[in-house]
Symmetry: T
Subunit: 148 residues, 12 copies
């Protein structure tokens, strides 16, 4: 089981800014935590972060053959990127959409996602735990699919 | 730590119908699972299910003093009940909103919740796991709040 | 063939008020008329009226196993109750939606029904006859389905 | 009692196409059935079918003096023809609007009718029975009006 | 100076119905009145009335070469017929849009015209006088254009 | 003169929570105050509070014959309950709509009431005084109607 | 027969600017023309022009008792002034709404009038002739009303 | 305690027109009544009525220093005047918004106020009593604020 | 392979008017060109042009059995005719929608087609070439379907 | 070079109220500052402030002949006054629209201006500097136009 | 004649995925086909594909001087990229917009293009043929423009 | 004082194209002008231009620590880039939004900015002067903040 963990614009700054909003963990710390949890669940992870829609779309295309699922926090691209939607759909891999903050309690333009209808599910508001819940959901889903 | 687990209309039928949609666990089985997990996290649970908006509002008022948080799957009332919103807000207790299915992949009227802006966060699409993630999120949140 | 006849808020007052609008027959008289017609068509009926969304949802859940179809006049709940929609859908029984008055000639909020897309069909404007037409439509539909 | 039965675009093809959608009866067979039912109710019928909005408006103007009511299935014109609305209104004759299929379960543009607010009532979804129910509703209405 | 006077659906019935709404003059009487007024202004008229959008479009195409302007009361087609708009525009002849009743005091769908932006001007609410004002406006306009 | 005082969901909690928002009076204290004022104005009151839409609709039906008017604070149901609208309309009794807080200064979904167009008038923002003003308005209205 | 001729903001500049848009006649010249035409029709006129909504409302109130009808070109206030609507309605005098240019061919916010539903009719696009048609329409209307 | 009573366009005509709609009291009579009531409550009043938005804005600016609160019936300006909103806000004085008629039962454009979110509260539908209730609400509010 | 080429309102005028907009070819010349191209591709054509929605619907019904596909330029009916949509759908024949001009660069009401979702594809903006591309697309499609 | 500086409702109060919002300069001080800057740029200024839409429209008409451009802060009228738009357009003088505060960070109804599409440009958010930037932009523009 | 062929996000994957949707040709095969066809028409091509909006905008700027026209399949950027619109407009080169699938038969957000109003025309739904038709349209257009 | 000057897509082409629209200065010339002006105001500048949303977001993150404010002309990204909004907000540096042209006089989609509510202010329409005004506004703002 191999899972691609995708982080969109500005998520490399986690932990440095707005700790009361996004928590005090850095993206590296979250990635370490995820690696640890993934190991427990028999999964391997690969990570990618970019501020660039094109780079993200390309990474999805490149990795699609070698991963079984995606864990996606697309940040601001969640609300605007049809290209990301198309890349996720074309990859034919299941994914879970996660958000650090409760996007439904923020500006109205953050209440809609252009790809959440394609996701297994959505988790928003639990900071680093949004990722660990998402990882667990993905590994369960994959085990269920493969009947393992 | 005591958490009120609230289930809205039709959720008493879980496991009996549409298993491919909602999973094969009954509400009792989910409640047992939650009791088990809560015990691990040092939390106690009380449960309520009703098809009736008025009964749910009343239960929230009655229990508000004796619980520390809510785990809420309001079912169809999620999209229409301002009364439920007011009851949750008036209880002055944090809550997590959960859904068995990915509501964002269903009819448009299921994409909006009249109270998700008041929640800590939202979890949708992972069947019984939506509840266990929600429970874990609540106990973390309460521990963080109380500095325990 | 057993059919559940469901009446929503305020329909217990039929015949007592606004006779020029809703006709002079009481709900009991309509029920008697329906029993008579049902007998002719080899069907049995059970009735329920409530002002309470929760009670109606519960009755549908309770009766679903013992009826073959529903005849539904949900009154004001027609336009707002997603919970009723979910209950009807979950019952996996065909239903006909009926209205005493022509709802399309009244206030705009009465022009939409939150469940008419799930119905076999809709009948509005013919007072008691809306029910008898609906009953006949249901028995025909059931006979056609079962090939009887 | 004389009733004008109006069928809009494409309804001459009934029975030949999409039988699972519109039933297996042809328009002629429906007309025969209606003539039979009308005889039982002491009513006489005249029929008109056209694909042409102008021809339909003209027929309504020509027949208005010699009929007591209309039974209208305007097909696709239901959703767009203000001219048909004006013709029905100007005829000063009551009418019932019928549809073979449940238009509320189809594309959104079929959920609105530009003249249903002028009708006695609306019946949708029961194939040929939509017509027979409509006929019965009209003869009842006329008898009630004339006190016969 | 030759002007084509166009009347849309149902306008052949003028004077026979709803006299309190549309006045007591028949379409023939209005046409006679217009002929008289046109003579005073040195103009010649040709008339057309049809319930049929296609026939109207065709008449405009046929007459375009032999008229200098149009006086248009398109009735219900005013609000829906893009084909009529295109025919008027393609004719490259100026036109005045007239209405017997004050369409702005009627149902909302009558407040918009699909071609009034192409007209010299609009006159609504003055019954037969809407036509005579329109005729006078057209002859003035034509004289002004030709510098006569 | 007998007036039914109706309180919707959560209003039994008045005075206990959010005193800066809703004032420090409990519902009982408001009711006592109203009884006192009613006595001065020669009116008798009966009270009902429920969190349940169905129970409220039923109470209105039961009491309609024995009261002359309603004083209504429907709380969250103000914005959603078509069933309550229908019950008030069917009771054929005048009513005044009151709110403790200025609903027009809160969330947009609180700016609309589904029944304020049927009321004599609306009073919002004056806490307990909203009720006493409403009572006075009703007794004036009734005296004016009956010419007393 | 006495008619108040009302001109809104900027109409005192007629003839001086944008002659290709509004014609070459000044407001005085239009007023002279109207006086002449009014004399022929046995009517007397009084004139008012102001850039000021308040002044216009006041003039209407002051003159209402001494005029039989209004000829109104409210200019830009047509699209925004509810106060002008209320003043016209309160005057209980019939009025015709006129515009020099075809407002329906200009910016979308000029397509709606906040009082045209209260007018006898609307005339737009014929420059000075919009006024003379309007005057004639008013005198006809008054003669018809008084049976003279 | 000094309160500025502001009346917008057309309110000087009270009592003279539409008595069935606005009651039979003139504005002077309402002002006398208010003076009397104010005296009982230890308050002094100053009055202003104008049809002119600019004059009203100016009066508010001039009086702001010498009054403690406003009682505002802005008439038609309620629905359109952002300038009035800004003037009220800039005055930093609490105000109550009153209406003689139930604006929520009239045309849709009267259902919104551009400043009700800034008011203490809103009272609509009780004719002269809307003012006396508003006055009482203001004096209570001021006493509460000043702890008197 | 037989293809029905359908032209809507006003397209008989091609080449005579607006050559800079629609090109200089007449409809006959386009038809000749199409016949030539069809011959090369082993296809036979039949043509129909009408200004009349009803006539077009009828022609589609009549020809449906004898053609394999449609090439459709419905002109102004593209944006309004649900009847045409239904006729094309009922014919169960694939079709290509073509436009001479780039409809997406014209008025907003021309940006939507009521039947393009049923088409194989859409071609707009290339004058006569829109037709020849459409023909080629249809013959390819048919060959692909039939495996020839 | 002569420039008319126009200030709308409430701007005479600048500096006295909300200094943290609008800065501490009074309108006179801003005007002095502008006179100074204008002198440096070889321009002369004339000033006008009014709370009254009508007075502003009139001043524009009166001054149009004697100024070369406008510097406009219309305050609340920015968002509603079509009359002001028409006056500015009719003056045929270029203008710059300025705002003291960043209107795009305030209530939604302040995000639109009914005349900014006619302006050279818009400056918002820099308090007194919004005016000095605007003045400089106007003098540059005029010099560029006149080739000086 | 030199034409730039632009392909947006994910189009490098053509032929590998969803062959039933997008056909079995790879992007290279389409490019080869286009080169062949271009040669026949005396045109030269240059190609660019990128998942990155910025890279595409830059390529357009770089190539604009050396190409005569664009053939554009912007994929998902069609519906969102104002930057791409601006780049195409700034290049001052004609272009044709093509899509492999019929975008009008897919999700609503794919029905709008932010630049189709600037195109010569639009072709959607014919897989590789959308490109060859587009190429042919461009070479015709260029020949027509240059009179060759 | 150090200010980051950010230019979005296509702004590297300034001066080369559309000089009548954007002026004749190149981006380098504007940058030189800004450097000169900044020197006078004791500020230092750093510049960045990119067509790429991702590159811009990254540059903001990289530079945020070393600049005191931003001068932002995001070009087409102004209207769509939530990622840019988030980057600006996360940088916790004040910024001014500038545009060369008056965006409010262009296509409707250019009237909204996804980040202007976060800016100190907005300047649009003055070509190179939009930048120099913005620079001056920023240096004033910074001096005011730091009390220098």
């Amino acid at each position: 089981m191999r899972i691609g963990v995708l982080n969109g614009p500005k998520l490399n700054l986690l932990g440095e800014r707005d700790p009361q909003h996004y928590g005090t963990m850095t993206l590296s710390e979250i990635e370490e935590l995820l690696v640890e949890r993934a190991a427990e669940q028999g999964a391997e992870l690969c990570f990618f972060q970019s501020d660039d829609e094109g780079a993200i779309v390309e990474w999805i295309q490149t990795q699609a053959m070698s991963v079984d699922a995606w864990l996606v926090n697309a940040g601001a691209l969640t609300h605007t990127s049809v290209a990301l939607r198309d890349a996720l759909a074309a990859s034919a891999r299941p994914f879970v959409e996660v958000h650090l903050s409760n996007v439904f309690a923020r500006e109205p333009f953050r209440h809609t996602s252009v790809f959440s209808d394609l996701a297994i599910g959505v988790i928003a508001g639990f900071r680093a735990s949004s990722y660990t819940f998402g990882l667990e959901a993905l590994t369960s889903h994959l085990r269920e699919q493969t009947g393992v």
